[in-house]
């Protein structure tokens, strides 16, 4: 008995094949694309999303990725399968490029719809898929030809404007990215209303909490600053008086003016001894080891130890702080703690070892293709190298601040990636050039009928973004495309929807965004075209209804 049959018996799967797959699956794809379509372009509109219970006010969405995330289910199961197929591709685009979701949706929907029509007319889906994937290489070659590097601060501003659709934010992000580079960490925080600005961070700091809050000085906004600090790095649960005394003795032996302790927890006995020995002349800060999981804690301990020259006391290794000596403590010139962060500067770690660690992590960052892993490595590098910035965003309401924050984070991510990957001018126009290159390359001759269909579908898919921009501007898409094609040196300023010189193009797109959106959308559509049968989960009654 096949595994499918076994499952059918246990879970009552529903199986749908044939024309219905084409129609309903495509309808789901179209529904999701139509939902995202309005936000495409620099002057794209908002989409309001009501909560599942309808009790709260609708959420205003301006980001294709968030819109796709909010759509969790369509009523019709087969349509839902189509929508969810596209949704998973869009999430992939968002994860890899941080933008380009709307572009991907538009391209996918056009290619899929045209491809389905061709298959309904008798073309072979597998040959069509292969032809699409083959022609994709022509598109990539043309995109790479259009790519430009390096990026000036003005280029960064134009790109940030294209992604974030906000002038002030674009100027701030361009300035920050130009300074911190592709490896710097940009943290977005809410500032005061009407204020947008940035501060550079050349210290190493971690989000964590003090284990003893009485250290924090209320007159300085619940902050404590110490200098010439001995540093104890551990994930121990400090409990006894002996442990506290050993730490104090080691710090005194090091002739430090203060003691910075990282620990998992600090019990009352240990804490009381530490506090009793603290004074304005010898201050003690007890901080929770940064990290939300053991691997994160180990990473932060390693990095702090590397920078300060401390020996790490691992709880898992059975270490106890009662054995600590002055040689086990690290040292830094200044440290600070607030209710939410701890930071230090001027660690006395081994500079040569630090340099090797930075080189290894940089290599890891450059070769990693997993976005969360890249982000984690970037955070570590930023802390090790003191290369970061805080971007303060404004807003009159919590909702607006949250929106600004997410927009700023997304924009900063895309612009930072573009520093190494480059940009293509003109956005939709770059794809238009690719579409024309396809036609030129084919030279009007096709080996098979599927080759012709693939080129036509791909060309139409690549033209959809420009056509959508034209529609948003109440222009005739066909006329606009014809105008652009006849004046290929001109591009479209989609913020005001008028034709402008390519050299003055006020909007840019990140190469990586466009390349990722096209790759995933086209390969996803090619794959979707070969779907003959859909197996639906439980509740088949609804399918057959």
């Amino acid at each position: 008995m096949s595994s499918m049959n076994r499952h059918r018996m246990r879970y009552s799967y529903g199986i749908v094949s044939g024309a219905r797959v084409a129609d309903d699956f495509a309808r789901g794809v179209r529904d999701l694309t139509d939902l995202i379509r309005p936000v495409y372009g620099a002057s794209g509109r908002f989409v309001a999303s009501a909560g599942p219970l309808g009790a709260s006010a609708p959420e205003l969405l301006h980001d294709g990725a968030v819109i796709a995330r909010r759509l969790t289910e369509l009523d019709d199961r087969l349509e839902n399968a189509g929508a969810m197929f596209l949704r998973s591709l869009l999430q992939q685009i968002d994860g890899l490029a941080g933008d380009g979701v709307a572009t991907g949706a538009l391209i996918f929907e056009t290619i899929y719809t045209r491809g389905r029509s061709a298959i309904a007319a008798g073309h072979d889906p597998v040959r069509l898929r292969n032809a699409l994937l083959r022609e994709l290489e022509v598109v990539f070659a043309e995109l790479r030809r259009q790519r430009r590097l390096p990026m000036s601060r003005q280029d960064l501003r134009l790109l940030a404007q294209s992604v974030g659709k906000d002038n002030r934010l674009a100027a701030e992000i361009a300035t920050i990215v130009d300074v911190v580079g592709p490896l710097g960490m940009i943290e977005v925080r809410p500032g005061s209303a009407g204020q947008i600005g940035h501060d550079y961070i050349d210290e190493s700091y971690w989000p964590t909490r003090p284990l003893e809050r009485s250290h924090l000085d209320a007159t300085w906004g619940m902050r404590s600053d110490i200098s010439l600090c001995a540093v104890f790095v551990s994930d121990l649960n400090l409990e006894t008086r002996d442990e506290a005394l050993a730490l104090l003795k080691a710090a005194r032996h090091q002739e430090a003016s203060s003691l910075l302790i990282f620990a998992r927890s600090c019990g009352p006995q240990c804490r009381s001894v530490l506090l009793a020995n603290a004074s304005p002349a010898f201050r003690v800060l007890i901080i929770a080891t940064p990290g939300n999981s053991d691997p994160e804690r180990w990473e932060s301990m390693e990095d702090i130890a590397m920078m300060t020259g401390a020996h790490v006391y691992h709880a898992a290794a059975g270490s106890s702080s009662s054995e600590v000596t002055s040689g086990d403590l690290g040292y830094c010139r200044r440290a600070w703690a607030t209710r939410t962060h701890v930071g230090f500067v001027g660690g006395h770690g081994d500079g040569r070892a630090l340099r090797h660690r930075v080189a290894a992590l940089t290599m890891q960052f450059q070769t990693s293709i997993d976005p969360p892993s890249r982000e984690r490595t970037r955070r570590r590098l930023s802390r090790l190298t003191g290369r970061g910035a805080i971007l303060w965003v404004d807003g009159l309401t919590d909702r607006e601040i949250a929106f600004q924050r997410s927009r700023a984070e997304r924009t900063a991510r895309v612009v930072q990636r573009a520093l190494t990957c480059g940009y293509v001018p003109g956005g939709g126009v770059a794809l238009l050039v690719c579409a024309n290159r396809l036609v030129e390359e084919s030279n009007g001759t096709f080996d098979t009928a599927e080759d012709r269909v693939a080129i036509e579908a791909l060309r139409n898919g690549l033209l959809t973004p420009v056509a959508t921009l034209a529609k948003h501007a109440n222009l005739n898409p066909a006329v606009t495309i014809a105008q652009l094609e006849s004046q290929m040196e001109r591009g479209m300023d989609s913020s005001v929807y008028r034709l402008v010189s390519r050299d003055d193009a006020p909007l840019l797109d990140a190469f990586e965004t466009i390349e990722t959106a096209v790759r995933i959308a086209v390969s996803g559509a090619a794959q979707a075209l070969t779907i003959e049968t859909v197996v639906l989960g439980r509740n088949p009654a609804k399918v057959t209804a």
Partner: protein
């Protein structure tokens, strides 16, 4: 002036004369405004290792780096203001001026990296974005925007007047770097073990490596302008050397001067189009060469 051990020495052109600053290990800082003929106490304790002159708002300004602060004079060294840095006090070792339309001054410190002033040296802010090795050993301006800094085990460059730093990742991490110099295409580092290594900035590769015979710590390096070949001057605690080479030919090493008494501090100074080497010695004496150009 008594004969203490000199810790730092520097001269700068000011007005019609030359301001010299020397630091003695035990008896403080002295300044001379008559080209070293006479010396007046400038600061009673602490160390100074750097002096620089710049034009700010069409007015000459002289800065002297101390421990935790910078002395600033707009009166040709007659009166001085104290401009604090941070606590705990870092020792200012070197200055570099990015001479754009509004000069930016960078001060390299032994413990806290680089500080930056955009108002002619009145206020100083930490400028270490990307500069993760903070024990600065040398700081040199390349042109109006570029500065190169040596930080014990690494070399960093800024191309935006100190706003951010990028590590020169491809240099060989061998020995402690104590001196650095850079030109358009050449980067030269010197180590505490008396080794001079020159790199080609375009190719990102080492060009030559020279072990100086005295193996003394490199105090300073200077690249000489030359059309046909590469020429470097190196000052160690024992001698001054000329290193020259052309592409495809052997390196030529010449000793220009041997110090009779070991130098405790020293460097190359450009004054009025001339290039001098100055050194302070163990016995409190100072020596200055003739023009090395």
């Amino acid at each position: 002036m008594s004969t203490p051990v000199l810790a730092a020495i520097a001269f700068e052109q000011m007005g019609k004369g030359v301001v010299g600053v020397v630091t003695a290990r035990e008896s403080g800082i002295y300044a001379s405004v008559d080209a070293g003929q006479s010396w007046q106490p400038l600061w009673e304790d602490g160390l100074a290792a750097a002096v620089v002159r710049l034009e700010w708002m069409n007015q000459p300004v002289c800065l002297v780096g101390l421990s935790g602060a910078i002395l600033r004079s707009e009166t040709d060294g007659v009166t001085w203001d104290l401009c604090p840095l941070v606590q705990p006090a870092p020792l200012v070792l070197a200055f570099a001026v990015c001479s754009g339309s509004e000069p930016v001054v960078l001060a390299g410190t032994h413990e806290d990296g680089v500080f930056r002033s955009t108002d002619g040296g009145r206020r100083w802010e930490s400028a270490n974005v990307g500069l993760y090795l903070r024990r600065i050993t040398a700081l040199k301006a390349v042109d109006s925007e570029q500065v190169v800094v040596a930080a014990e085990f690494g070399v960093f460059r800024t191309q935006n007047g100190g706003e951010s730093w990028t590590e020169v990742t491809w240099i060989v991490s061998e020995g402690t770097i104590s001196a650095v110099a850079a030109g358009e295409t050449l980067l030269v580092v010197g180590t505490t073990a008396g080794r001079v290594i020159a790199y080609d900035l375009d190719v990102r590769a080492m060009m030559v490596q020279v072990n100086l015979p005295d193996q003394g710590e490199l105090l300073d390096l200077e690249i000489l302008e030359s059309d046909s070949e590469y020429e470097i001057l190196a000052i160690t605690e024992n001698a001054i050397y000329h290193v020259g080479w052309s592409l495809g030919e052997d390196v030529e090493l010449r000793c220009l001067r041997v110090f009779p008494i070991q130098a405790t501090c020293g460097g190359f100074q450009r004054l009025g189009g001339c290039l001098y080497a100055v050194a302070g010695h163990d016995d409190g004496s100072a020596s200055v060469t003739s023009d090395l150009n």
